[in-house]
């Protein structure tokens, strides 16, 4: 009896001690906080409800840094969640230079949502702990829409899909011209939750099992007898038209539907009916047009390890040499931050895209925008070498699966009696392998891509009124000179905006003074000036260029006094009192 009591006592003591050891005493690794207010596992993928849950928890835990909203609803009525992240206490979020981030425009390219969420989480949790990030949220605003295609994201996650489907959103369309919509999607024939490949044994087929890994079906050599026919993705001829899987969910390509250099479907496949005919895209466009403080943007895709910028087509001449330099200065740093990624110009280095999202952002709004193709074949075995396609060599995919995923990524070939094809086998790569990172690489991918986008955000214009000097001119007049500086690599207006004149100029106002004349000082030493005769109290500037200054001058009646206000749609608002 006594003995039992003793054992109980010792046990209780030990467990209390253990519990104390478990929680607070881990050494913080560089990077993510040890004790965030919001715990999120960054080694998995979240559906729309999961994204909503993380968003709500972030907004609740960080009320002065994160606000949850919605930019609209999807075709099936899901919210397009918006996280606005900034220091809400120091100045209005919508007047700070802002970075827009979205992910998942292609519904199967899911991990952009995790990168976007990770970004919101990381900067909110690091505010006040990491100086660089604190300053970033004090000066800039982030508009983060983790998924702009939530309907099809959920379809991708909860229904049978390949790594490449649905890609579209869920607005039903007739893809095969038979007058019916979405009537022949892929089918999960064996009910295992995966849409994989179908093959049929055929002594005269042109495909064979890879001798190194029989799970992999490869083409027989030119002089070699094969053993299989390679059929379609897992599916039936549901509508009896002699075709398999020819009219699945959608189809349109949401990233060909934007209102810049848009072309109809018969020129640019997937562009849909007209620019922004897709409600989710229209919600983004309306939001961006209503937020002229957005001056940088990032959209996350997969795959292939690319940092893409426009233009999407050769004939788009809107990107001047000056703007190309801005892109290059950021993109090349990205290559360093993202091993295995290449900084590329879309039309030149990849392929032509009419009506792409990044082109609308830049073309119609003058916003410097990158699309990152997340996940790179470099990460299979981290051997530098030439690019091996978007998903890497099939042999590497299968080898990685064998050695590091222990076979989890691939459905082994197994028999199925198909109503149209007869006795076949079903097998191949699961949807969540080859385009998306495995659990242990996901957090790495989130962090590195976030870091690139934070670098971009850091270089959104940061304007200050560097110096104000006053001079008495006699005759009851005074002169005020102000030097305005942009200490970042992105100008307050893109060269494209300045050249094609589709946004208002920046203003420098002198308030509470009787302004006689106003000038832009081009060269203070040689006294080269341009006078602005009309409204001299509000001087129009093209922009404060990257890492440069602009000097303005006023002649005022009486003593030099007043308040100088720099007011830029993209460069923010800065005020300084004279003198």
């Amino acid at each position: 009896m006594l003995k039992n009591w003793m054992i109980f006592f010792v046990m209780a003591f030990l467990s209390a001690d253990l519990a104390q050891d478990m929680t607070p005493s881990a050494l913080k690794a560089m990077g993510a906080p040890n004790d965030p207010l919001v715990e999120v596992a960054w080694n998995r993928y979240y559906d729309h409800a999961g994204i909503g849950d993380i968003c709500r928890r972030l907004a609740k835990a960080h009320p002065d840094l994160v606000k949850l909203g919605s930019i609209g609803t999807s075709v099936q009525g899901r919210d397009l969640y918006l996280l606005t992240v900034t220091n809400f206490k120091n100045s209005a979020a919508d007047r700070k230079p802002a970075m827009y981030i979205d992910g998942n425009i292609h519904s199967n390219e899911i991990q952009g949502s995790e990168v976007a969420l990770y970004t919101a989480w990381y900067v909110a949790e690091s505010y006040g702990h990491v100086k660089w990030i604190t300053e970033l949220l004090d000066a800039k605003t982030f508009y983060i829409v983790p998924t702009i295609n939530p309907d099809a994201r959920d379809h991708y996650m909860h229904s049978g899909n390949t790594p490449h489907s649905p890609r579209s959103g869920m607005l039903p369309r007739d893809d095969d011209g038979d007058g019916r919509v979405d009537e022949d999607p892929p089918d999960d024939l064996d009910g295992d939750g995966h849409i994989v490949r179908m093959r049929r044994a055929n002594a005269h087929g042109r495909w064979k099992a890879d001798p190194h890994d029989p799970r992999l079906l490869i083409e027989a050599d030119a002089d070699e007898k094969g053993a299989y026919d390679f059929l379609d993705w897992e599916g039936l001829d549901n509508d009896g038209d002699g075709l398999v899987n020819e009219d699945g969910p959608g189809y349109y390509d949401p990233n060909r539907n934007w209102g810049w250099m848009w072309q109809p479907d018969h020129v640019q496949h997937g562009s849909d009916q007209y620019p922004f005919s897709i409600p989710e895209n229209r919600a983004v466009a309306d939001f961006v047009m209503a937020h002229p403080n957005i001056c940088g943007a990032q959209s996350y895709h997969n795959a292939g390890g690319m940092i893409l910028r426009g233009p999407g087509v050769e004939e788009d001449q809107s990107c001047s040499a000056a703007d190309q330099l801005v892109y290059e200065n950021i993109g090349t740093v990205g290559e360093q931050m993202l091993p295995g990624y290449k900084y590329m110009v879309l039309w030149k280095d990849l392929y032509s895209v009419y009506g792409g999202e990044l082109d609308w952002f830049y073309g119609a709004r003058g916003i410097y925008t990158f699309s990152n193709e997340l996940w790179t074949s470099f990460d299979y075995f981290r051997a530098q070498g030439e690019a091996k396609g978007w998903f890497g060599r099939q042999q590497d995919v299968y080898r990685f699966d064998e050695l590091l995923l222990f076979g989890e990524g691939i459905v082994p070939w197994h028999r199925f009696d198909h109503p149209q094809f007869g006795a076949i086998e079903i097998g191949g790569i699961k949807k969540s392998w080859t385009r998306t990172a495995p659990s242990f690489l996901l957090e790495d991918m989130c962090h590195r891509n976030m870091a690139f986008t934070l670098f971009h955000a850091h270089h959104l214009p940061q304007v200050s009124i560097d110096s104000v000097t006053t001079t008495a001119l006699g005759e009851g007049l005074s002169q005020i000179d102000a030097i305005i500086v942009n200490s970042r690599m992105i100008p307050t207006r893109s060269d494209h905006e300045i050249t094609d004149k589709f946004t208002r100029p920046d203003w420098v106002l002198l308030r509470d003074a009787e302004v006689i004349a106003g000038f832009i000082v081009q060269d203070p030493l040689m006294n080269h000036t341009i006078e602005q005769k009309r409204r001299p109290e509000r001087i129009n500037l093209d922009a404060i260029p990257a890492m440069m200054t602009v000097q303005v001058r006023w002649i005022v009646a009486g003593k030099a006094r007043g308040t100088i206000v720099f007011d830029s749609r993209k460069g923010g608002v800065v005020t300084r009192t004279v003198p």
């Binding site: 369309r173 007739d174 011209g177 038979d178 007058g179 009896g240 038209d241 002699g242 209102g259 810049w260 848009w262 072309q263 109809p264 479907d265 018969h266 020129v267 640019q268 009916q273 007209y274 620019p275 922004f276 005919s277 466009a285 047009m289 032509s352 009419y354 609308w360 119609a364 094609d500 004149k501 589709f502 946004t503 208002r504 100029p505 203003w507 009309r534 409204r535």
Partner: protein, 546 residues
């Protein structure tokens, strides 16, 4: 010849239109403002419930309805259709009136004139008489001008203020016309042939400008520009996606506006539309669009000229139109984001456009009896000649005005008034033309031949198009948004399909196409062949296997 037949058979109906005889007055007296148009269209629909339906495609910024009239026997949405749009150029309120008169005359002719009865039984007309009603209403406002922009507030000059420098009726005559300001640095000169007209000086011909030419107004926001940020908005006829340019009045992106989007959504959701006609200065019935050579069409590259096989159809129909109306205007300026081109190049339908009216060509005895080669004022000269003869109060003679912005310069105000391109038009010619378009549409028939060997049957469907136009254009055949003719064999369980697809989708059928199936089945059983496309028609044939 074709048209003459129609003109003859409809002659009796046009007595009705005589009551709309032209009155030499202002636009408001001859055309219907939004309210009156609404009332008369609603009344027509009430009187002819089995033939005419009125519904709204949505509300504009100023809460006006964008009216759609569906004319024809039910089920209207299941029959091939022609869409007719008025007010694509918003000042063109005559187009709305022509739409209304077409409806009026068709409703009266139904059951009286066999050819009209047959057209309305077989086809549907979707008529959108005024697609930019907020802008069109300026023709009826206290101060009138030819406004084309809807009521979206836009910062046209990007100065951070919206609609802050509108036109001003300085001389108080109720019209916004032009002002010419004597200025030795100006680019404009008085036309030597007619001092009422202004044109740009040609320095290479040793001409010198003597005027600035502006619209009537003051520099309200003191920015050195006049009327550069007027009320509104976006021009419907610049807001479509073909050859769209993000310039003034084009909107933030193609199909950005309530009006353009409502029209596009309506058309995309009506696969039965075969052909689109609109009233517009951006016409192709007097100056057909350029036709591409085969080498010009490259996969994955924008299509900007009429595809080679479609060219002859556009030309023939344009020739017919030109002959019947006698219109002979100078060619239009290049359109950007224009609706009529969109309807062909992006919507994939046959698309025709014509102005609701053109001033007649100059004849001897006209005010300025001249023919000038490459005359830059050809349009204005024709209009002025007609106006002086028929409606002289539609031109305000230049008269001096003390303009506060130009205290030391001579300023005169004058020019054509709003709606000067809106005289009463050729109701019967247009009505006949619409019936003619209906007659040009493809007409489907199918002949089925069966060859039998024992219980083995070879079934051949010969699909015949007896209409003038092919079942779709070459461009339509490329479009995802135009449903092709589907030829389908309907079998029962007693049949086995041996060869052939269950159905075929067939690109443009000019005259004839042939599809074949082989089946095994019981003698005495029946199979069915269905040939159909929403925009072409529906034919089915049941065949007994012997």
């Amino acid at each position: 010849m074709f048209l003459a037949k129609y003109l003859h058979s409809f002659a009796s109906i046009f007595i009705v239109s005589a009551i709309y005889s032209f009155v030499n007055g202002d636009v408001a007296a001859e055309y219907q403002n939004y309210h009156d148009l609404t009332v008369s269209l609603q009344a027509a629909a009430r009187q002819h419930p089995s033939l005419l339906k009125i519904e709204s495609l949505g509300k504009t910024a100023e809460n006006r309805d964008l009216w759609l009239l569906t004319m024809g026997k039910a089920p209207a949405d299941e029959k091939p259709a022609i869409a007719i749009l008025g007010g694509v150029d918003a000042y063109d309120v005559a187009a709305s009136e022509l739409c209304r008169r077409f409806i009026d005359s068709a409703l009266r002719a139904y059951g009286v004139v066999d050819s009209v009865t047959s057209i309305l039984d077989r086809l549907t007309f979707y008529i959108l008489p005024r697609v930019n009603p907020d802008a069109s209403e300026q023709q009826f406002a206290a101060i009138k001008y030819d406004r084309v922009r809807n009521s979206r507030p836009v910062d046209s000059d990007f100065d951070g203020a919206i609609d802050e420098d509108d036109h001003d009726d300085l001389n108080g005559d109720g019209y916004i016309t032009l002002m010419r300001i004597a200025d030795p640095a100006g680019e404009w000169m008085v036309d030597p042939l007619d001092p009422r007209l202004m044109r740009r000086a040609a320095p290479h011909l040793d001409e010198r400008g003597a005027y600035q030419l502006l619209t009537e107004g003051i520099d309200n926001d003191k920015d050195g520009a006049w009327d550069e940020d007027p009320a509104g908005g976006v021009n419907f006829n610049r807001n479509f996606s073909f050859n769209y340019r993000p310039t003034e009045g084009a909107g933030p992106h193609p199909v950005s506006e309530m009006e353009s989007r409502a029209v596009a959504d309506f058309l995309f959701s009506h696969p039965n539309v075969a052909l689109v006609f609109c009233f517009s200065q951006q016409e192709n019935l007097l100056h057909p669009w350029d036709v591409a050579g085969d080498a010009d069409v490259q996969p994955g590259k924008p299509i900007t000229r009429v595809l080679p096989k479609d060219g002859k159809f556009y030309k023939f129909i344009a020739d017919q139109f030109k002959r019947s109306t006698g219109f002979d205007p100078p060619p239009p300026e290049r359109g950007y984001g224009a609706f009529p081109e969109w309807a062909y190049y992006h919507y994939g339908r046959w698309s025709f456009a014509a102005p609701s009216w053109c001033p007649p060509a100059m004849t001897a005895g006209d005010t300025t009896d001249v023919k000038v080669k490459d005359d830059p004022l050809a349009r204005e000269r024709q209009l002025l000649a007609w106006t002086m003869k028929n409606a002289p109060n539609r031109f305000v003679e230049w008269s001096a005005f003390d303009h506060p912005d130009f205290p030391t310069q001579k300023v005169e105000i004058g020019g054509f008034v709003a709606g000067s391109l809106n005289p009463p038009s050729l109701t019967k010619e247009f009505t006949a033309f619409f019936y003619q378009l209906a007659a040009y549409l493809p007409k489907l028939d199918v002949q089925v031949k069966v060859e039998a060997t024992d219980q083995f049957y070879r079934i051949t469907a010969t699909i015949i198009n007896s209409g003038y136009l092919p079942t779709c254009s070459e461009l339509g055949a490329k479009s995802k948004w135009l449903r092709k003719v589907k030829a389908e064999l309907i079998l029962s369980d007693a049949h086995k399909l041996i060869s052939g697809n269950r159905f075929y989708l067939i690109d443009a059928i000019a005259t004839v196409a042939e599809k074949q199936w082989s089946i095994i089945g019981k003698s005495g059983s029946t199979v069915k062949v269905i040939v159909a496309s929403p925009s072409v028609g529906y034919v089915e044939k049941e065949i007994r296997l012997d």
